[in-house]
Subunit: 128 residues, 2 copies
């Protein structure tokens, strides 16, 4: 058997393929599973592997470049962008702010929110 496929797409899921690809790669980059400079398969190859059109994969790559996850050069391929350290911090802060905003909207206090997160962290069982 070949190497485990980097990306998989489940057509049963309601979320469109290009989003699945985008989010999966974003995760791999954010978690460090894909290090800076790592080259990704060309759009045609990945599209062929997944049974999709090139434009679909291209859209995923494109949005990932816009968010700073990837860097692309025509003829040179697509690679993981170098500054993902700083980006992770931004992503973390963004998530924290969204969470805080939601909590305030619900009328949850600072301490209450922290306690909930702490509990969730220890309890946290992956539910996927």
């Amino acid at each position: 058997m070949t190497t485990e496929p980097l990306i998989t797409v489940d057509s049963d899921q309601p979320v469109p393929p290009y989003v699945q690809i985008r989010d999966q790669i974003a995760d791999l980059v954010s978690t460090g599973s894909l290090t800076a400079g790592t080259r990704l398969p060309p759009v045609r190859q990945l599209a062929a592997d997944l049974g999709l059109a090139t434009g679909t994969v291209a859209r995923a790559y494109q949005e990932l470049e816009a968010t700073g996850h990837l860097e692309t050069r025509r003829g040179g391929g697509t690679r993981v962008a170098p500054h993902h350290g700083k980006r992770r911090a931004d992503v973390l802060r963004q998530h924290a702010e969204d969470f805080a905003t939601t909590m305030r909207r619900l009328g949850v206090t600072h301490d209450e929110a922290l306690a909930a997160v702490s509990t969730a962290f220890t309890t946290a069982l992956p539910r996927r």
Copy 2:
């Protein structure tokens, strides 16, 4: 001029009207702005006020009943459900778990996450 409209819909926004209605009411209930037993306008009236079809408002009410925010009785109107205290706790826990899951996925530590939330809470400026 009449009383401040409880709900408003902005057709320019990309999010569909029924979602806008649903989320706004959900917020009002969660924050306690609408207390248990408070009666909401009939679907026809709210629809007329907003320039929408009855079915659109009905859908919002329906989903809110499914999530436990509201209770509806034909002929009796739609009212805020009584147990929103317990519900708020559930919602809080759910958000906390989602946040924790995301943080783990990003490889963020327990302490790091708590610090980020704490910071976000003090910084948090409403962004609407």
